[in-house]
């Protein structure tokens, strides 16, 4: 669906007035009445709800992480270890995370029935199956739209990946490019956000004032989503220049940098914490790669060995800083991996029975919801899918997942209307 609101619909005019009125303070964002109750809006703002999503790119093995099956023919060579929650065991590859399990919840009955990387990834971040002619906003855009404060000086939707960077994603669909992700490639600040030394601050302010005046004159006659995005990009860049230190993890204490580890993923986790503390609504941190058709165990030893410590430190820090109640944590992939071990010591794609880790916000603490059978081949209790999980993520931070966006006067369900939240994953 194209986002072209040159239609002058009343809600857009209102949005435009808000937009123009807040240019000097930053950029526009804000929800469209998606909160579960109007009274909750104030509380939400007070609580500053946030979401962090760890994307285990390629398909994390549930058997080497959240749903180990030791002693079975599908279990592989790694053992299960106890966690801080009696009765819940996870893979020995995650000893630090195991000690944070009382903050977390494992959904062990995920069945998405889609073994294709692209399709599975789309489903997990949109809550819907891909369909020709339809495009839906990614989860980050939805949260940015619903949770970002209008006066926020930092983007509401940030992607931290080992690759790329410096660009804006095309992942907001009909919500418009203002809610697309800002990519911090390998955790680096957005490109060109440092004012050149040759331009004095006063000169820079004067330039921007002049640009705003010209923009305002132009927009008074003709306004589209594209022009808004153009204007918004400038304002956001200007705001980010003022907030450039927010992206600099070297400003964190040496002890924190040490706790999170010197590798890239540790740095990315610390950056995510720093940005959440500064009010960013949604951050996706990508950890790659888990598509381990070959030598699954060696690669999971390597990758989870890197993931475990900074992730556990991140969870512990949110808890210690009182942010866990207001921050939803999601650890997902596009699918899990086959219970059977192939001839290459690998595991292939498996979407029939896998796990997603949740934590914080309204997610129950220290629980495992759902169950797979003894060999991990199928879900036997508490089955959930991408659509019900998407509803659950939204509800967990107080967003009415059964509500709708209004785009060009049309109501579009926020989440798949054929699904509903998983009550067992919400307190």
């Amino acid at each position: 669906m194209k986002c072209d609101y040159a239609c002058h619909q009343p809600d857009h005019l209102l949005a435009r007035r808000r937009f123009l009125g807040t240019l000097s303070a930053g950029f526009v964002a804000g929800g469209l009445g998606l909160l579960t109750a109007p009274a909750a809006a104030a509380q939400l703002a007070k609580d500053q709800k946030r979401v962090i999503l760890f994307n285990m790119h390629g398909g994390l093995s549930q058997l080497e992480s959240w749903d180990p099956k030791p002693g079975t023919d599908t279990g592989g060579p790694f053992r299960a270890i106890p966690t801080s929650v009696p009765g819940i065991h996870i893979s020995e590859l995650l000893p630090q995370t195991a000690q944070q399990m009382h903050h977390l919840c494992i959904a062990r009955g995920v069945n998405t029935a889609e073994d294709d990387h692209g399709k599975g990834a789309y489903m997990m971040v949109t809550g819907r199956r891909e369909m020709p002619g339809a495009d839906y906003p990614k989860v980050g855009a939805v949260f940015a739209k619903a949770l970002s404060a209008e006066a926020a000086s930092l983007p509401g939707h940030i992607l931290i990946a080992p690759w790329g960077g410096g660009s804006r994603g095309n992942d907001a669909a009909y919500l418009g490019p203002n809610f697309s992700s800002i990519s911090l490639g390998n955790g680096k600040p957005p490109a060109n956000t440092a004012r050149p030394d040759s331009i004095a601050a006063a000169s820079d302010d004067a330039r921007n004032d002049f640009r705003r005046k010209v923009n305002e004159r132009f927009l008074s006659r003709r306004r589209t989503a594209i022009t808004d995005a153009y204007t918004h990009s400038y304002e956001q860049a200007h705001a980010m220049m003022r907030e450039r230190d927010s992206f600099d993890v070297t400003k964190e204490s040496p002890s924190d940098q040490s706790r999170y580890g010197s590798h890239d993923f540790g740095r990315h986790c610390l950056l995510a914490r720093r940005l959440l503390e500064r009010g960013v609504s949604f951050i996706q941190v990508v950890h790659s790669n888990y598509d381990t058709h070959n030598e699954n165990f060696n690669f999971h030893f390597e990758q989870l060995g890197e993931f475990d410590r900074p992730f556990a430190a991140f969870v512990a820090d949110l808890a210690d800083r009182g942010m866990l109640d207001s921050t939803l944590i999601v650890v997902l992939s596009e699918f899990g991996r086959t219970p059977y071990v192939n001839h290459l010591y690998g595991r292939d794609h498996w979407s029939k029975a896998w796990s997603v880790l949740l934590g914080g916000a309204r997610i129950p603490r220290g629980t495992a919801y759902g169950k797979t059978n003894e060999r991990g081949m199928e879900v036997v209790d508490g089955q959930v899918d991408h659509a019900s999980l998407f509803h659950t993520y939204l509800q967990a931070v107080g967003i009415d997942s059964l509500g709708h966006f209004v785009v060009d006067g049309r109501e579009i369900p926020v989440a798949d209307p054929a699904a509903k939240p998983v009550e067992g994953l919400l307190t």
């Binding site: 060579p77 790669n289 030893f301």
Partner: protein
């Protein structure tokens, strides 16, 4: 007379789980085999009769070694346990079990005189044990990434380690001090698209004249997670530590060498597994390319040489233990 071109499978024994590693009893009585079930099995070389060896390990066994007198078997598991077994016991059970390492024990080797065992794995530490009583003799940190393989020098005073980063080190067994380093970095890669370290030194062997050290594994790893890589052997001059030559294998785009052995005539044997299939590869010392390759019926994971020098035992993913005769 050794003639790999006449290779043929002369025994094929089936187990009910995929097999990992194997070692032959130097007294020519048994084959000791580790499988994905987390236990050892003993196969009779006479008739292939299997004797289960339950207990000892909580999970998969990666490494097996037999003392030169054939009396004792050692096994190392993914549970970090090192177990001792009486090889010929009617109902084998562990006679000693030690928490030897944190995480996987990937390699066990026994000194030529049979008195010492060296172990290593994911905790980056080499530990040397007395075979007789299991006491720890010495330990030292030996790598920055997983140690994949070990090799005792035939004279017993030196020990070679090979790791994931493609580093081969030679250690003084008596002191644990480093004596030499061999650069086998071509066997390691870090894939910038998949963000993984891959490959490493997976097998080592020393030529019968003790002048050449070979290190094998894989290279051209364009897709580590998808098994796109080719087997490679690097030959080093032991005295100068310099790379002498490479052994390649054309036409195996999806393969890795898991172990290397020298035959008595100086022929180098490598066992290869991967999507390209299972192979026994044979190289002469003066040629880059293999002069013969024997296609095995299934992907292979380990190999060991019979004491007669004319038979090779291989373990396979299909649960079969196969014996290939390489003589006329």
């Amino acid at each position: 007379m050794i003639d790999p071109t006449k290779s043929q499978v002369v025994a094929d024994w089936k187990h009910d789980r995929p097999l990992i590693s194997c070692r032959v009893d130097p007294q020519s009585r048994f084959l000791f085999v580790a499988g994905e079930e987390g236990a050892l099995s003993r196969f009779s070389l006479t008739d292939g009769a299997r004797t289960p060896m339950p207990g000892g390990h909580e999970t998969w066994v990666w490494s097996v070694a037999v003392t030169p007198d054939g009396a004792t078997v050692l096994s190392g598991g993914a549970d970090g346990k090192l177990c001792w077994w009486e090889s010929a016991a009617v109902e084998p059970k562990p006679i000693r079990s030690l928490p030897a390492h944190v995480g996987w024990i990937r390699a066990i080797v026994i000194s030529p005189d049979g008195t010492l065992a060296a172990t290593a794995g994911n905790d980056l530490v080499i530990r040397v044990w007395k075979v007789a009583d299991g006491s720890l003799v010495r330990e030292w940190t030996a790598a920055t990434k997983d140690i994949l393989t070990l090799l005792f020098h035939p004279q017993g005073q030196s020990l070679f380690s090979g790791d994931l980063m493609g580093v081969v080190k030679c250690w003084d067994v008596a002191t644990g001090t480093e004596q030499a380093t061999f650069d086998a970095g071509e066997l390691h890669s870090f894939n910038e698209g998949q963000y993984v370290h891959f490959g490493g030194v997976r097998g080592m062997a020393m030529s019968p004249d003790q002048k050449t050290l070979v290190a094998g594994g894989l290279y051209k790893a364009s897709n580590p997670l998808g098994n796109v890589h080719e087997p490679l052997v690097l030959r080093f001059d032991i005295e100068s530590k310099k790379l002498l030559s490479k052994n390649l294998c054309d036409g195996i785009p999806n393969g890795s060498l898991w172990r290397l052995l020298f035959l008595s005539d100086g022929t180098l044997v490598g066992v290869c597994g991967g999507n390209s299939g299972g192979f026994l590869l044979f190289w002469k010392s003066d040629a880059e390319k293999d002069f013969f390759r024997f296609k095995l019926p299934n992907i292979a994971r380990d190999v060991d040489l019979y004491p007669d020098g004319g038979h090779l035992a291989t373990t396979h993913h299909d649960g079969h233990l196969r014996v290939t005769r390489i003589t006329t």
